[in-house]
């Protein structure tokens, strides 16, 4: 089902939680809302669920205006942060709840059949008689998912659903949830502050900052072409350095880094350098190699100390990099934002000589 959010704004007292937020989610699409805490992502999710009001703007589900439609009539499934399972009901009753409270309540046999089907779908058929406090965190999450799916939702909202799980379980559960989405084809919105989670699971990621969606695109585009310094800094790893643009060239003085050619006006600017952009080469230079983070076949991730500033870079791993030895630092490129917000891709002036 398609969801269309248009110019939604919401204030709490004097603080604006959301300002002019617009977002469209296509049928069967998986979109992540990514942002730091306080960026408004949970507010947006609660507005979609009908648990929060709006000051202006509209939300449409399949073209139907949702303004004034109470949560219970929206058929939007929510998996809450702490799952919010009904603690006095068994797993079975939790999942059955949405069917039991329907205006036209299905017969008991039909409810039982649906619940068992859902519990099988989330792979916990053996837990139906347990109470929420008798199952593990990962299992609770599956119950919450089954409960949300029981109402045959038009849209599924996941509010930081993996936050309560430990790191080991989390990765598996992510893949499994994404697989489930692909199988069921329900449009899904995931709220998270974990960029890895967002980029791994979602078709598109909407990056939120202070109540606005600053950019919404595929993970690839966000990494390659961030719209704002915030997105560049928030997604992927990057070293942020101040620089000055003079005559189409960004200089990093007083740091001993080679300049980058950029199509930007003169003035102060900010450069974001990904680890791939910073080449650490053997030979004498001002850098000192401080740590080796991981080594793959053809390159090694290293941390290099450049006059007291630590930069994340890559080194060719042909020779095992050694710690605390001097090295040369070159740049393969980078993203530079001028102070007026204009953005350009930086290119090295000269080709890097492979060392």
């Amino acid at each position: 089902m398609s969801i269309e959010i248009r110019d939604v704004a919401r204030r709490f007292g004097s603080t604006a939680a959301l300002e002019g937020v617009s977002l469209t989610v296509a049928r069967g699409e998986f979109v992540a809302l990514l942002g730091p805490s306080g960026s408004g992502k949970t507010t947006l999710l609660r507005i979609l669920a009908g648990l929060e009001g709006t000051d202006s703007g509209t939300v449409r589900v399949d073209g139907e205006d949702m303004t004034g439609v109470p949560a219970r009539e929206r058929r939007i499934g929510v998996v809450f942060q702490q799952y919010a399972l009904f603690r006095h009901m068994t797993v079975f009753e939790n999942v059955a709840f949405g069917l039991r409270v329907r205006k036209r309540r299905p017969p008991e046999a039909e409810i039982a059949r649906r619940v068992r089907e859902l519990l099988a779908l989330v792979q916990i058929p053996e837990l139906e008689r347990r109470y929420p406090d008798q199952v593990s965190g990962g299992q609770r999450q599956r119950v919450a998912l089954a409960r949300a799916l029981a109402i045959e939702p038009r849209l599924l909202l996941l509010d930081e659903p993996f936050g309560a799980l430990d790191a080991l379980v989390r990765k598996d559960v992510r893949r499994w949830v994404r697989g489930l989405h692909d199988r069921l084809g329900i449009s899904t919105i995931l709220v998270t502050h974990d960029q890895e989670e967002a980029m791994e699971m979602a078709d598109r990621v909407a990056v939120m900052e202070r109540g606005r969606i600053v950019q919404c695109d595929t993970a690839e585009v966000l990494l390659r072409d961030p719209a704002t310094p915030f997105v560049a800094g928030f997604l992927g790893e990057a070293s942020r350095l101040d620089c000055q643009v003079r005559g189409g060239v960004a200089h990093f003085d007083p740091l001993p880094l080679p300049p980058l050619r950029v199509a930007l006006p003169d003035g102060e600017a900010q450069a974001f350098l990904r680890p791939e952009d910073i080449a650490v080469l053997a030979g004498t230079g001002q850098g000192i190699l401080r740590a080796v983070r991981n080594v793959t076949d053809d390159r090694a991730r290293v941390i290099v100390d450049l006059e007291g500033i630590l930069l994340d870079g890559t080194a060719a791993s042909g020779r095992a990099p050694q710690r605390n030895v001097p090295c040369r630092v070159a740049l393969r490129g980078g993203i530079v934002f001028a102070s007026n917000g204009q953005r350009a891709r930086g290119e090295p002036l000269a080709r890097i000589m492979a060392g």
Binding site: S56, T67, P70, A71
Partner: protein, 278 residues
């Protein structure tokens, strides 16, 4: 039109109904009747109220009520602390029973407590005889009797406010103090008591507020002699029986005002204690 109208959503429904019910209930049962108390005395005029309250019998009754309440609550502080400590920190046979018995004054009707205490402390009672023989004390029908009844009524308030704080405190702070070289009395005086002080004050205030207005458990043991062992609530009853509504209301209003002054003072004191600790 792209710009939708604002929509107000209550995440949980039913505010209108429940708040309406609550306000009606609170308004009819609490606010309007108490307003009557605040308005009625002034039928006498300001001078009349002052005159009504300045009667020696009234002043004496107020002094007896508040004096006995304060005395009883002060004696109850160490006793309540002792019981709370025993409940939380000590393990001994009968602790569970003790835990239930603490609430007895909450559950026992006040009139029952009143005649029971009177029977105990009467000159021929179980405790009255030995106290008279050993110390020459007479408790029943004196101000001491009033204080004893108020101690009974107020004790659980102090125990039940200190107990959760003590439980919450755990032994970490004490163990830390011990590792820092404090001896036991230092730990108790500098770590434990200051932590419990706000709760002790709260319990003291609750016990006091309850004791000031207490009627049922006091009138049997008090003796009710005007100018000596007559409590303020009894004076209200007496004035009502003489159909002196405004005079009765004046005493009631004076009691409430004094109570709130004490609670306010305790509140300020508590803030001072809290700030001093930071």
């Amino acid at each position: 039109m792209a710009c939708g109208r604002p929509s107000r959503v209550a995440p949980v429904p039913g505010l209108g109904l429940t708040l309406g019910l609550t306000l009606a209930w609170v308004g009819l049962v609490v606010v309007i009747p108490l307003a009557a108390l605040a308005i009625k005395p002034w039928e006498l005029g300001v001078a009349g109220v002052a005159q009504s309250l300045a009667e020696p019998r009234v002043l004496s009754a107020l002094a007896v009520s508040f004096g006995a309440a304060l005395a009883a609550s002060i004696i109850n502080l160490p006793l309540g602390l002792l019981l709370a400590w025993a409940l939380v920190r000590l393990d001994f046979p009968g602790r569970r029973v003790l835990d239930s018995v603490i609430d007895l004054p909450f559950a026992l009707p006040t009139a029952v407590a009143g005649i029971a205490l009177t029977a105990l402390f009467a000159p021929n009672g179980w405790l009255g005889v030995p106290l008279m023989a050993a110390f020459g004390w007479q408790i029943a029908y004196t101000r001491a009797g009033i204080a004893v009844a108020l101690m009974f009524v107020g004790l659980p308030f102090i125990v039940r406010t200190v107990e959760p704080v003590l439980r919450d405190m755990g032994k970490d702070a004490e163990e830390a103090a011990a590792t820092l070289g404090a001896i036991r009395p230092q730990t108790l005086g500098r770590v434990v008591l200051p932590t419990l002080a706000p709760a002790l004050l709260t319990g003291f205030g609750l016990a006091c507020a309850r004791a000031v207005g207490e009627y049922g458990s006091v009138i049997f043991i008090a003796g009710n002699l005007p100018m000596a062992t007559e409590i303020a609530p009894l004076l209200i009853v007496i004035r009502l029986e003489q159909f002196d509504y405004a005079g009765a209301a004046a005493v009631g209003l004076a009691m409430l005002c004094l109570s709130f002054t004490i609670l306010l003072g305790l509140n300020l004191l508590q803030r001072l204690v809290r700030r001093g600790r930071r």
